[in-house]
């Protein structure tokens, strides 16, 4: 029982830290209707940059986290340029950046596929030194704190002139252009901000688990989409933009809790990706099936 509690607590912490990434996915997927595959690469990029900055360049872990976010933004901007200026379909543009980032991430880590941060300071260890909290509590407080800050910042940003133009771009691109907004710019900006969040999330996960790994971002997009789906199921009734952002992070926490439970019940960890993919696939299929079914059910031979 005790083991379960610990793994559940772990799951909540992970869920919150990954939740920052889900916020990023939310921006591209829900607001702009782009499934941005860059995130697998930019999440790992954030982790790798963070690890190297702390370990090799002896940087303050908070500064390293900031750099992880900036690295993610650059990655997002590259996808954005490929997609807007060069008109490559968004999915393909994301894949190209993601694949390219694999090599870049390995180079950042000097060819090593894993870099442990055993003796260096992290934001978690600094927080523990400062407050005396235990490791899990410290990670949780930091994660929740950053998530809240990000949600507030995003909430404010999407209320600004640029932010509303960005939301409208996902709604009706032709209209937004007719109202004088360069939609290439809004999309580029959205992809940049989104991957900035993903990079920060990668950096946070790296610091909390005390290592960066080349494969740490693999499947991140699917985790992000699954978390969004779960969040919508749980909190879909809430309409305000703030609660929608919050639902992304909550969805992420529930995702990791579900994951911990099924792993505990004996599911092979390698099957987890299949489960995530299935959750997303089902969520995408259900509305289509329902629509087709309703169309069929509405048919009457007499035309009544």
């Amino acid at each position: 029982m005790n083991g379960l509690m610990i793994s559940l607590q772990d799951a909540v912490v992970q869920g919150v830290l990954w939740g920052i990434m889900v916020l990023g996915v939310y921006i591209t997927y829900k607001l702009l209707d782009i499934a941005d595959l860059t995130v697998d690469g930019s999440f790992a990029l954030g982790g790798c940059v963070c690890a190297i900055m702390v370990l090799v360049f002896k940087m303050d872990p908070w500064v390293a986290l900031l750099l992880a976010g900036m690295a993610g933004m650059v990655a997002g901007a590259i996808t954005g340029l490929l997609h807007t200026v060069f008109e490559i379909p968004a999915i393909l543009a994301g894949i190209l950046t993601q694949i390219g980032l694999w090599s870049i991430n390995l180079r950042i880590m000097s060819g090593k596929s894993n870099i442990p941060l055993l003796k260096t300071d992290t934001i978690v260890s600094k927080f523990i030194d400062f407050t005396g909290a235990n490791k899990q509590a410290a990670s949780l407080i930091i994660g929740v704190g950053i998530a809240v800050i990000m949600i507030v910042l995003l909430y404010c940003f999407f209320g600004t002139e640029i932010g509303s133009a960005m939301r409208a771009t996902g709604n009706n691109e032709a209209m937004v252009r007719a109202l004088g907004v360069n939609t290439n710019w809004t999309k580029l900006l959205a992809l940049t901000i989104s991957n900035g969040l993903v990079g920060i999330s990668g950096g946070l996960v790296c610091q909390s688990q005390k290592y960066a790994d080349i494969g740490m971002g693999t499947g991140a997009i699917v985790i992000g989409l699954a978390a969004i789906v779960i969040g919508e199921v749980l909190m879909g009734k809430l309409r305000s933009f703030g609660s929608k952002l919050t639902s992304a992070v909550v969805g992420s926490v529930i995702y990791f809790v579900i994951r911990a439970v099924v792993l505990r019940m004996g599911m092979n960890a390698n099957d987890m990706k299949l489960l995530s993919a299935a959750i997303v696939a089902v969520a995408l299929c259900v509305p289509v099936v329902l629509r087709k079914w309703r169309l069929k059910a509405a048919y009457t031979e007499g035309g009544e």
Binding site: T160, E161, I162, G163, N172, A178, L179, G180, V181, T183
Partner: protein, 265 residues
Amino acid sequence: MLEIKNVKKTFNKNTINEKKALNGINLQLNEGDFVTVIGGNGAGKSTTLNMIAGVYPIDSGRIEIDGVNISRYPEYKRAQYIGRVFQDPMMGTAAGMEIQENMALAYRRGKGRGLAWGIRQSEKSYYQEALKKLDLGLENRMTNKVGLLSGGQRQALTLLMATLQKPKILLLDEHTAALDPKTAKKVLEITEEIVGEQNLTTMMITHNMKDAIQIGNRLIMMHEGKIIYDISGEEKNHLEVEDLLRKFEEASGEEFSNDRMILAK
């Protein structure tokens, strides 16, 4: 005001689907002109408006507004001069956003957008007043999502949005065609009211000959990418639908054909 000089446009050049849509359009609008545009299917009416708005680049020619050559401006940059309403009521508004948010976006047409709030408290009463004039009850639904509105309401709102920030030219592309006759009439009335009030230079494509004759001070007819008839003032006032049909046959050597065209007198 608006000056179009020998504008040509061919779609899908050098392919099997090559289509000459505009064959040298020349047109000069004066300040305050309200021009109705008629013509058969595929005559190039929508393409003309799209070229002015910059939806696609033109192949050759020149488009000027108030002496500014906008021929090579991208669509978003021309928006500072142009208000637009499309045929499809879905196209002019963002369904997932509130009525007031849509208006705030439109109010900033052609202005730089920064990190100031997307909608200020002080604007809201202005929007409310404007909505009241539509007389559709929308002034009490400012925080409703636009997706909840009917097609007619959305078209009326789009029209209002296009003119919140006075455009140098208003482009209407069969903006009542998708509406039922009663709603279409209402939206047309609103159109005349707004255009009259602000003395807007306007181009309105319509498939209703009677409207084309009754509304505005000038009428142009298009055929195969050319303007084949241009009439204004007193002469236009005395126009009948038969005259238009005859003019069309004279100019084109064909019978008028437009399956949507309303020829009723």
